[in-house]
């Protein structure tokens, strides 16, 4: 295999220079799920945005890792590991790595990287390293590094593990102890196979008492990685002369869109006045509204109301089809040019979500006519459009709504939960029935019922703690609440003022809590920031999946709560939130307030947002209940959201998402309520519109 191979396109007539991102650098993943050798890291960085999921199995050990190349030089890895016979039982742990590539390869100059492994805590995997990697010719790559902790002498790691935790990130342990050398070589004889040999100078895994966990006959490891096709890697290795390890890695990158620009149908071309057979103003306004409604419905838009004057038209509509609101604007505008009388020069579009208007974007019709197929027309139409808060309802004529107020669905669901009760991993799948009834576009009753096909046993016991059990009883809800109402809520959205948005929700918001939730968002249409306030009064639901509150401690004739726990818990919880777009790809959020267990604290979240809809990020929460007995020192988690149009190619506003807690517990828990304002309000405002503006003429 050519490690420096560049992508060649198949067309004999077309030569497209390969972008750097498309370069295949022969990168493979280690048993830790990071770019590297066999069990050791290298200094190579994956392509920007690369996501790798790795499952590695060896005797008595498994590692499941998720690595994200956050920027061209910085990567992060979340890993869930289990280690048998560690400490009078098995070790189950979650950890986070960070790696920064200080410099990339350049000629004979090697790449250089520094890494922190499972650095937020002291664990059997905690370690730090500095490593250099150089590619020699087309087929060889050499790596050498210096490691501490798990990658160093065991005595140093043992000192860390023996040190009492003071509740803080153990930065004073990093790069401490006696380091060890490591290194290795990779050889790629062809594109599919890559052979590796490495030297691991550390002295292997030890149990909590220092007893070796494996027969460390040799510091040398040997392995081979098979790459049957792009995006798939399978590894086989012999470790320390005594163990066999098997690994598999799946790769995908938000940059690699499988359907190019998408399978969207061609939009209606702009009708140029004076040439096309435009409608006459002799047409009654009611007929024109009907025609606009029908034409927009045919392209996936639901018209709410229309205002027509001699020179201007204003359309308020909901885009139910296209992920990028900018694409919806472009398609609606083009359709209108085919219908509006020639005298109308100004077209104002007001996209809506949840029955409320998000912004008002005004175009000159003559700009639409001249810029549709012009080079630079995409940027020019953005520059010439005006953006403002949506106007009032005065002048708008509501369009009769033909759509059914009721929608419903039955779909399978699946879930994976970590550390529920005493089970390190629990799987669940079943059927979910959901329904939604719209009393008005902005007043919606929605709910869902789940039936699990997996039988969940009650745990023998649940660890106690000084914090109200707002989350740790979740296994009781799984066991007792089947079938169960996951949510049933009435939600009312409104626009109480200029740049203001509001939500009031009433009902059962999630499996474990229900009550009243209110939210107010101040979000100017053209700024990268917004401020929100949320206030909720909630009670803890019964664990039987029904409509009752309280009674969540008892199951199977056993009381799982501590005597000091509140058995009929009600609380006031809420946050002040600041949302800020650091750039068109980085979104930050800070929440400060009172959490579910009644404690005070703050959450900081950062997301990388790709222009094609992918969002990958993480958050850290610290409250005054963290660090108490039984609670982690902080809560942290990662989250990922994939747009449906990326996967299927067809236009869709759908998303699939998951969040995964790295460190969590009762402390730092927030109410799970759907329909939070900022999540959808931002989609109709200038920063998000500008990000998706490339699709305006699509």
């Amino acid at each position: 295999m050519n490690l420096r191979r560049t992508l060649a396109l198949g067309s004999a007539m077309v030569a497209l220079a390969a972008p750097a991102l498309a370069q295949d650098r022969g990168l493979t993943y280690s048993l830790y799920g990071t770019p590297g050798l066999i069990d050791l890291p290298s200094a190579m960085a994956a392509n920007d945005g690369q996501i790798a999921g790795t499952l590695a199995l060896s005797q008595g050990e498994s590692r499941t890792a998720f690595t994200f190349q956050m920027s061209p030089r910085l990567s992060g890895t979340f890993r869930y590991s289990s280690l048998q016979d560690y400490d009078a039982g098995s070790y189950y742990g979650r950890g986070l790595d960070l790696r920064y590539q200080l410099m990339d390869e350049d000629g004979w100059r090697p790449a250089l990287a520094v890494g922190l492994q499972d650095f937020l805590q002291d664990s059997p995997y905690s370690g730090e390293y500095v490593v250099a990697t150089s590619t020699i010719g087309d087929s060889f790559r050499v790596t050498a590094g210096l490691g501490w902790g798990r990658l160093g002498d065991y005595a140093g790691l043992a000192d860390r593990l023996a040190a009492p935790s003071d509740g803080a990130v153990p930065a004073d342990h990093w790069f401490r102890g006696t380091p060890a050398l490591f290194g290795g070589i990779e050889w790629a004889p062809n594109e599919r196979f890559l052979f590796k040999a490495e030297y691991d100078g550390s002295d292997g895994y030890r149990a909590a008492d220092g007893t070796p966990l494996l027969d460390n006959r040799s510091p040398l490891n040997f392995g081979v990685t098979w790459r049957p096709k792009p995006g798939y890697q399978v590894g086989l290795a012999v470790l320390h002369g005594s163990e066999v390890a098997l690994s598999g890695t799946l790769l995908f990158n938000p940059h690699d869109r499988p359907y190019a620009m998408g399978l969207d149908s061609a939009p209606v071309p702009v009708a140029v006045r004076g040439v096309a057979a435009a409608a006459s103003w002799d047409r009654p306004a009611a007929d024109l509204r009907t025609a606009i409604t029908a034409a927009l419905a045919a392209d996936g838009f639901r018209v709410d109301s229309v205002e027509l004057t001699d020179r201007a038209a204003r359309i308020r509509y909901t885009n139910g089809t296209y992920r990028a609101e900018a694409q919806g604007l472009g398609r609606v505008a083009r359709i209108l040019t085919t219908l509006l009388p020639p005298g109308i020069e100004t077209i104002t579009l007001e996209p809506m979500r949840q029955g409320i208007a998000l912004s008002a974007v005004t175009f000159r019709r003559s700009d639409l006519e001249t810029l549709e197929n012009a080079p630079g027309g995409t940027r020019a139409i953005f520059d010439r459009a005006t953006f403002a808060d949506a106007g009032g309802r005065a002048g708008l004529v509501a369009v009769p709504q033909d759509a059914s107020r009721l929608s419903w669905g039955i779909a399978p669901y699946g879930s994976v939960a970590f550390f529920r009760g005493r089970d390190p991993i629990s799987l669940d799948f079943g059927l979910q029935a959901s329904a939604r009834y719209s009393f008005a576009p902005n007043l919606v009753l929605s709910g869902a019922v789940r039936y699990s096909l997996i039988s969940h046993d009650l745990p023998g016991s649940i660890s106690s703690g000084p914090v109200q059990p707002v989350r740790r009883l979740s296994s009781l809800y799984s066991a007792e609440g089947n079938p169960g109402i996951t949510n049933l809520q009435l939600t009312w959205y409104s626009r109480p003022g200029h740049n203001l948005y509001s939500r009031v929700s009433l009902g059962y918001f999630e499996t474990m809590f229900g009550g009243v939730s209110t939210e107010l968002l101040y979000s100017p249409v053209d700024t990268r920031w917004a401020i929100g306030a949320e206030l909720n009064y909630v009670a803890q639901r019964a664990n039987d999946g029904g409509l009752g509150f309280g009674g969540y401690c008892e199951a199977g004739g056993h009381d799982y709560c501590d005597p000091s726990d509140d058995h009929d818990y009600r609380t006031l919880t809420g946050h002040l939130s600041l949302y800020y777009g650091l750039s068109d790809q980085l979104q930050a959020q800070v929440d400060v307030g009172r959490y579910l267990a009644g404690e005070w604290g703050a959450t900081v979240a950062l997301d990388r947002e790709f222009g094609n809809g992918w969002r990958i990020g993480g958050q850290v929460t610290v409250t005054d209940a963290h660090g108490l007995a039984g609670q982690d020192d902080y809560s942290a988690g990662i989250r990922i959201s994939m747009p449906a149009d990326f996967l299927y190619g067809t236009p869709s506003r759908g998303r699939s998402g998951a969040s995964l807690g790295l460190y969590s517990g009762d402390a730092g828990s927030r109410l799970g309520v759907s329909g939070r304002l900022y999540d959808f309000v931002r989609e109709g405002q200038v920063p998000d519109l500008e990000t998706g503006w490339g699709r305006f003429w699509r």
Partner: protein
């Protein structure tokens, strides 16, 4: 890639709610497996817009309003009809709905072909053709994988290749062939134009995109 993404979607969809676990995404479209649904959910139902037929009679009555579009890389071989005309600017729609926009016969945009030509400046090409050849700078815009505009500036050299008999589908005609060689650091392609004695582009082979390849366009 598709299977990787499906596996990823399954993972992302595999969510539950509670302590230290995946949490359910309540966003629409979270289910990737077939579901039974009723009513109008977030993806609104669309209705077909009636389009004038591509009947043999319609084509025979006004052949100048039709062309044959052949994009072999994506299996598109259909008649197209003119749907919008504004001086030298025309938009044609294929029977399947894909559209092709031209400036004076030079293709400047496509829609509905997955990897579309967002825009490609066409000004100057006709003058070069009329002059028997020449060099033109053209600007091409595409959307990258993150929906950002990427712009290429191409240097295009047009040369005359002499007369050639061309099968236009309903007839054969002797037309003057011109080749246009366009190059930039990232993209190289060769278009071809066949002009009638009046200087009109009757047939052409023009690049849509690297993913879609060339479109062969024959006026009837």
């Amino acid at each position: 890639m598709k299977w990787t993404l499906l596996a990823a979607a399954a993972l992302l969809t595999a969510c539950s709610n509670g302590q230290t676990n995946f949490s359910l995404s309540s966003l629409p479209g979270a289910s990737i497996i077939g579901a039974i649904r009723g009513g109008d959910r977030d993806h609104f139902a669309t209705t077909e817009i009636e389009t004038p037929g591509f009947t043999a009679q319609a084509i025979a009555d006004n052949p100048e309003n039709f062309m044959i579009v052949d994009v072999p890389n994506i299996g598109l071989n259909q008649p197209a009809r003119i749907v919008q005309k504004n001086g030298p600017d025309e938009t044609w729609a294929a029977q399947s709905g894909a559209t092709f926009a031209f400036h004076d016969g030079v293709m400047v945009a496509t829609r509905g072909l997955i990897d579309d030509l967002l825009t490609l400046s066409g000004a100057g090409v006709r003058n070069a053709l009329a002059a028997g050849g020449g060099t033109v700078t053209r600007t091409l815009e595409r959307l990258d994988d993150l929906d950002r505009l990427s712009t290429l500036v191409l240097t295009c050299t047009i040369t005359g290749d002499g007369p050639e008999v061309v099968n236009l589908g309903l007839r054969e005609a002797e037309l003057a062939k011109f080749t246009e060689h366009c190059a930039s650091p990232a993209l190289v392609f060769d278009n071809a134009y066949w002009l009638d004695p009046e200087g009109r582009i009757i047939a052409s082979r023009q690049l849509v995109s690297p993913g879609v390849g060339y479109a062969r366009l024959n006026r009837l």
